[in-house]
Point group: C2
Chain length 325, copies 2
């Protein structure tokens, strides 16, 4: 007996009690098998009310992704066509990297309902509770030399921002280089890991976390000033499959646009969506602090900052914040 049939039966009865006897007869299995299957579903987050007289009633159905449903709704040609969906992992990046080393094709996607050791940029912690967010990593095999890798980060950020804006109707901006924000709070992070041999990119693993349906209680108190979710912002619970499917299509299109025509059009889209330009900022770089007004993207994917003395600095890597006074 699989989950599917039992769940279908409960859905047909729509919130009513179903006796173990009836399930057993309808699905042609023993009552012990029914009991075992209910236990399994409970471990996956389903909740039942049990009554000795009346049987079982499904009272809570967790939002769970399904490979079949995603395959059906994803219209992209290669992005997300091969999906590995896992319940709980240390990090989807590690699994995608292992797949890439085993020659997994471009577009291979790893999604986890929950990450135990999810990481953001520079090894920072990333909250990724079960069934509420979208935690995924994809194998890319871009035909560009290594020094264009930072541009791929921006391609990914632009695609995700456009897609999420379309699906949710929320006003989402990109903070350089690749955080998505609503009202100054982070709703999504992107991390690209590259493996190269000399100037040739062997593969890139794009890790994407989207705080879709997280609630305020999912965050440590001190994070709520800086982090939020689509649900907290709009009060809506989102269909995660719809978000993934739309993003796959948008991302694939921009990725091919980028490979065909170069970075220029992507840079223009990025600048239009950015919340980091034309406002004073402080950039903490490995080489020191740069203060000034970010005015645009450099062709390398770096940001150009106009400093108070009129000179321009090109910043490749930094933590960007607001001036303190």
């Amino acid at each position: 007996m699989d989950n599917h049939k039992l769940l279908e039966l409960f859905e047909e009865r729509d919130g009513q009690f179903v006796s173990g006897e009836a399930i057993s007869q309808e699905l042609h299995v023993s009552r012990t098998a029914v009991w075992k299957q209910i236990r399994k579903l409970e471990l996956l987050g389903y909740q039942f009310e049990a009554s000795r007289k009346l049987g079982y009633k499904l009272v809570y159905k967790p939002d769970r992704l399904s490979e079949e449903e995603l395959a059906e709704r994803n219209k992209a040609r290669s992005f997300g066509r091969s999906v590995t969906l896992l319940d709980e992992v240390d990090s989807t990046q590690e699994i995608a990297r292992a797949l890439a080393e085993e020659d997994a094709p471009e577009g291979t996607l790893v999604i986890a309902e929950q990450q135990v050791k999810g990481r953001g940029r520079m090894g920072r912690e990333w909250v990724s509770p079960s069934g509420k967010g979208i935690w995924m990593s994809m194998v890319l095999r871009p035909q560009v030399p290594i020094h264009f890798a930072p541009q791929l980060t921006l391609v990914t950020a632009v695609a995700l921002c456009r897609s999420l804006t379309r699906v949710t109707g929320l006003q989402i901006g990109i903070k350089w280089p690749n955080d998505l924000q609503i009202n100054g709070k982070k709703i999504s992070g992107i991390l690209l890991e590259s493996a190269a041999e000399d100037e040739r990119l062997r593969y890139v693993i794009a890790g994407i976390g989207i705080s879709a349906n997280l609630e305020t209680g999912d965050y440590p108190e001190e994070m709520l000033a800086k982090a939020t979710s689509l649900r907290i912002q709009s009060g809506t619970v989102y269909d995660r499959t719809a978000i993934i499917a739309d993003f796959m299509e948008e991302w694939e299109q921009l990725y091919w646009l980028y490979q065909r025509e170069g970075f220029e059009k992507i840079a223009a889209l990025w600048e239009a969506l950015s919340v980091s330009l034309h406002r004073p900022a402080v950039l903490i770089t490995p080489q020191g602090v740069v203060e000034g007004v970010p005015v645009g993207l450099h062709s390398s994917g770096a940001i150009i900052v106009e400093q108070s003395d009129g000179t321009r600095a090109v910043v490749f890597s930094a933590d960007m914040g607001e001036p303190s006074a």
Copy 2:
């Protein structure tokens, strides 16, 4: 009993027979222990003449590297200060990468007497027989953004070319981007593998193969037109420890020069040592064939090729050959 004492004893007797009895007395071990140790040394490539009456005579001593000797002769501050020396490995790159993932510090060096699956650029086979070449990989943790990684390949090529020229007195040139040649034949290959997180290089593994003391018989017949060794070119058997020690020092100096002052000085050195400039060439790139005269290095580490119509192409990755007619 360790190898060291037994070998010292044979060296004192300088090519003379030493009886098992004498060895046993001098080293305070049983004659069985002496016999076992002789067998072990034979497995490492040492050859003995054995006589029931006279005992043993050391007739061939293989060239073997020693961590202690290298530590003593290497004057670099961090490059090669931590050395893992192995008899036989699949590839030193893999071992160095595993060490890097375990936070091995910059300069950590892996050397193998023999590589079973040595690889050159683009997965090509690389001849690396036991005890005759220098097959090594080093962990680098450069504080530069990812798009400067190709410059590191050139830093490494310049350092190796300068060091080998000094140690051997041979005339060695650099073929773009990073092969070393004598009389148009390859004597050394360099392969840099990078691991990056967004624009930040996590580490780089620099793999270097030097065909030091290989003889013509070590190469498949068909390779001799393109490959050679320092020994074949000069008739001299080189002290591999001296080559490694000198290179460590030169490489470290140029690496720090590069990190401190940027690529300009390295580019000038590279251009001076290059055999690829100012002669017509055909470059087979992933995007197609470029024909023309390479005229200099681009700041990214790419090569600038002047084409017959006067336009200049910037080539990031290619196989460079001579025009066919």
